[in-house]
């Protein structure tokens, strides 16, 4: 057992004890505390019914075929060309944000909602009418505390409550 090895053993144990007594913890207790994301976070998408010019670019660019053009019944009369509006299928969406970026009238917007749970696959499909109602609210059992992630020199990531 060379001396150098014993020193390294002692150093390893000392670091272990150092962390044993320091009360630093990285965990964010997810259901009780939720992270307040910076704006620009690519969450679920909000659709603005009025400003949409029904150009179909978002359906064309979507890499996962999540955004499709549906015939919206209210506006299309018989005989005339049917009016198509975009609808999203969150089972396929990869949240890449191409549709939001390509929309010429900014009628597709990102929200910070990301943790919504569905029971069936069909619920995840949002035809235009449903898409219009906006993004579903995540249901938490207990009202979670909103925390913001702060980058910190000693602790890497620290979470501060946000009012």
């Amino acid at each position: 057992m060379s001396v150098d090895k014993t020193i390294r053993h002692v150093k390893a144990l000392a670091t272990g004890i150092k962390y044993l007594v320091s009360s630093k913890r990285m965990t964010l207790m997810y259901p009780d505390e939720i992270e307040e994301f910076p704006d620009g976070y690519r969450g679920m998408i909000k659709y603005n019914w009025d400003t949409c010019i029904k150009c179909g670019l978002c359906a064309m660019v979507c890499p996962a075929d999540a955004m499709k053009m549906y015939i919206s019944k209210e506006e299309s009369e018989e005989g005339k060309k049917p009016v198509r509006r975009p609808g999203i299928n969150y089972a396929r969406c990869v949240f890449c944000g191409f549709c939001v970026a390509i929309c010429p009238t900014n009628s597709l917007k990102f929200t910070k909602v990301h943790d919504v749970v569905y029971n069936t696959l069909e619920e995840q499909v949002y035809p235009p009418e449903k898409f219009r109602e906006g993004v579903p609210k995540p249901q938490y059992k207990k009202k979670p505390k909103k925390m913001r992630a702060i980058l910190d020199e000693e602790r890497g990531l620290r979470y501060e409550p946000v009012e």
Binding site: A12, M60, V61, A64, G97, F98, A149, D152, E153
Partner: protein, 389 residues
């Protein structure tokens, strides 16, 4: 009795705590591994064939998925190949932003590799620390691009978002945090005599073998071959940044780990230079800025979010052939695109570093002990989906 009877064939298969999504067929005599054959293909998703059915822009998220811990390398290599075919250069500021994201991604991809390797040789603390320390860098990338891992941040002609406000301070804090954490890593894990005993002299890859087998990335540099695409064929902002190639001489498992640890420290240096030398200017090629409606150009100036021109939906790439190479976290990523002027590529060839490192399983595991199999597997930073594509 003859060797056959004493030999035991063990399938360290896809369903095993330390095998990842692949199977290793090991012939074991007592505690010595006579021969180990990797059996890959469990997560093959035929990215190359899929790419032929998608439009050029839709391939960006597809191409990032196989190597999920290090997506920027694939994204950057693919878009550089497109830009060669389109014959346009991204503006300098966009080049710097691409390098910034590539280096942040390299740091947390290396931490991913080190963490997985730690738990494979038994140190759950190294695993928890590495995965915990990835979070600050993922948070930075999330603030810059909006997503945690699959950024799709780089588009033909530039990047998609401007630097958020006070981003440089946050990056500086995260880098300083990583620097003083390195001391604890060295004390508890890297200099730990048990780690040294498990890694030194294990799975030695000589320089000639490394070159002959066509190994890529830190595994190559750990055997003393100073080959790094960022220096050999500089791209993005690397020509104006001074950094050196990290190499080790011995080429054993510990050398590979040390190359990754030192590359983290090197990336920290690079990020600081990138943020200091970042020039002002547009982040999208003016040919595409002109193609956007003036209202949207206003919006872009206000929010710093790039809007796509309409033609991106059906981008036509002029017929031709282009090859681009990028140094990803795990090694050299090569893209070879052949387009025949239509909206989808005629053929897209994607060579990933893990695919080139698979040969090492068979080469390095001859005559080692059973307990060395996970030690060598982890030191290669092998990512099965990236190899199977």
């Amino acid at each position: 009795m003859s060797l056959e009877e004493r030999e035991l064939e063990v399938l360290i298969g896809p369903q095993h705590p330390a095998s990842g999504h692949m199977r290793m067929i090991a012939k074991i005599d007592g505690d010595i591994v006579v021969e180990l054959r990797p059996n890959i293909g469990y997560v093959h998703r035929s990215v190359e064939k899929l790419a032929e059915a998608k439009k050029f822009l839709q391939i960006i998220p597809l191409v990032e998925r196989p190597s999920l811990a290090d997506t920027t390398a694939n994204n950057l290599a693919y878009v550089m190949a497109l830009e060669k075919l389109l014959g346009l250069e991204a503006p300098p500021r966009a080049q710097y932003l691409r390098t910034l994201l590539a280096e942040i991604n390299r740091i947390h991809s290396h931490l991913y590799g080190l963490g997985i390797h730690g738990v494979m040789i038994g140190s759950s603390t190294a695993y928890m620390w590495c995965f915990g320390d990835r979070e600050p860098f993922i948070e930075l990338a999330q603030e810059l691009t909006g997503a945690r891992l699959s950024y799709s941040y780089i588009i033909p002609g530039g990047v998609r978002r401007e630097l958020p406000s006070r981003f440089t301070e946050k990056v500086e804090k995260a880098l300083r945090y990583m620097e003083n954490r390195m001391k604890d890593y060295f004390n508890l894990y890297l200099n730990n005599p048990v780690t040294r005993a498990r890694l030194e002299g294990v799975g030695v890859l000589s320089k000639e073998d490394a070159i002959r087998l066509g190994v890529a990335g830190p595994n190559l540099r750990a055997s003393g071959v100073p080959y790094d695409v960022r220096k050999v064929e500089p791209y993005a902002a690397y020509p104006d940044i001074d950094f050196d190639i990290i190499t080790e001489k011995v080429g054993d498992a510990f050398a590979r780990v040390m190359v990754r640890v030192k590359e983290i420290q090197e990336s920290i240096r690079i990020i600081r230079q990138v943020l200091k030398k970042m020039p002002e200017g547009p982040i999208l090629h003016e040919k595409y800025i002109k193609a956007i409606s003036p209202k949207m150009r206003e919006y872009m100036k206000e929010t710093g979010e790039v809007k796509f021109p309409g033609i991106f939906a059906n981008l036509r790439i002029p017929a031709g052939e282009a090859i681009s190479r990028v140094e990803g976290g795990r090694g050299e990523v090569i893209f070879h695109i052949i387009s025949d002027g239509k909206m989808s590529p005629y053929r897209m060839r994607m060579v990933t570093p893990s695919f080139r490192n698979v040969i090492l399983f068979e080469h390095l595991n001859r005559g080692v002990r059973v307990a060395d199999i996970p030690a060598i597997y982890g030191s290669l930073d092998y990512f099965p989906p990236e190899a199977d594509r």
